[in-house]
Symmetry: C2
Amino acid sequence: MTPIIKLKQGMPPGHEIPNVVLDRMGFLLNRSAQKFREVTEEALRPHGLTGKHVGLMVLIRERGALPQQEIGKCLHVDRTTMVAFVDDLERLGLVERKAHPDDRRAHAIELTPKGKDLLPKALQLGMAAERKFLSALPPADRKTLGRILKRLVLHHHLQEAQQAR
Amino acid sequence: MTPIIKLKQGMPPGHEIPNVVLDRMGFLLNRSAQKFREVTEEALRPHGLTGKHVGLMVLIRERGALPQQEIGKCLHVDRTTMVAFVDDLERLGLVERKAHPDDRRAHAIELTPKGKDLLPKALQLGMAAERKFLSALPPADRKTLGRILKRLVLHHHLQEAQQAR
DNA sequence: TGCTGATAATCAGTATTACTGACGATCTCA
DNA sequence: TGAGATCGTCAGTAATACTGATTATCAGCA
């Protein structure tokens, strides 16, 4: 009953993915996220940044200087991982650990002038990568995808916050 | 100009994610994939499996026994990673490395009777986890999400195959 | 037929990543 | 003032994926 093995027919070098695999949401999500990371990291490599670094910078541009763990809770980054993460950006001169005005244990992570300068360009590169990544989709689907994922992520974020009480 | 830092207002334990972050496709995809993995792995842990293991088993149930690297090309798993990957399943008695009928270098990875037995149950657990993961979405959105991601993944898969020539 | 270059699986070593647990300093609150 | 929680840090650990080398085998060509 064990089916026969096919090897090296005139097959094109792209190995077909059967539907049983393509219909598994886990495969689709992981594969998409992985590919997205590839595209983004390639675009940002010249600046020594990853998508997560840019995400951090955008976050503090929007919300103002934040303690590391606050950032971590938004971005789902562990407190210990945040250390190295901020180290990277500080080494690049893009953010600074300032003294937190209300809490001497905490740092206030701030954008430096250089960081404020670079961020728009980094964002632009990131957006270009995103467009490239989504280029196979009709524009309506791109918006839809964002909308659905946003809802999903928000739901899980709130749920986790609730049960963390 | 640097904005003021907020710490411990009467905030609920869930830290709000600002829209600048929530609108970044990379964040949404990575976060979704990560959460999905969590949910799935929790469901499959009693059997010592991950979603990828189940994916492998489904693939060879569908396509028949395959060499390791063929599996890897479908699932985007490196040839060296496949070794440990198949080791896992073999240790659990779910697949077997048989001799490949046409190529003595290659293995033919086959489901064992035990593997064929367990697979439906594992799939069921995986599907339940997927439902749980998607529970925040209206059914129409679940289908839409699958459709869009499938298109996206397929596009990149074909594109990579093409430029690998 | 025999040789050359490619390929399958494996292994050792490496880099990356994230996490656990412990620490000192500091905060909060009773 | 004292107890317990919290912030950032670090050392150690585990998981993961990859590079390069190795062995066995294959495919094609002279």
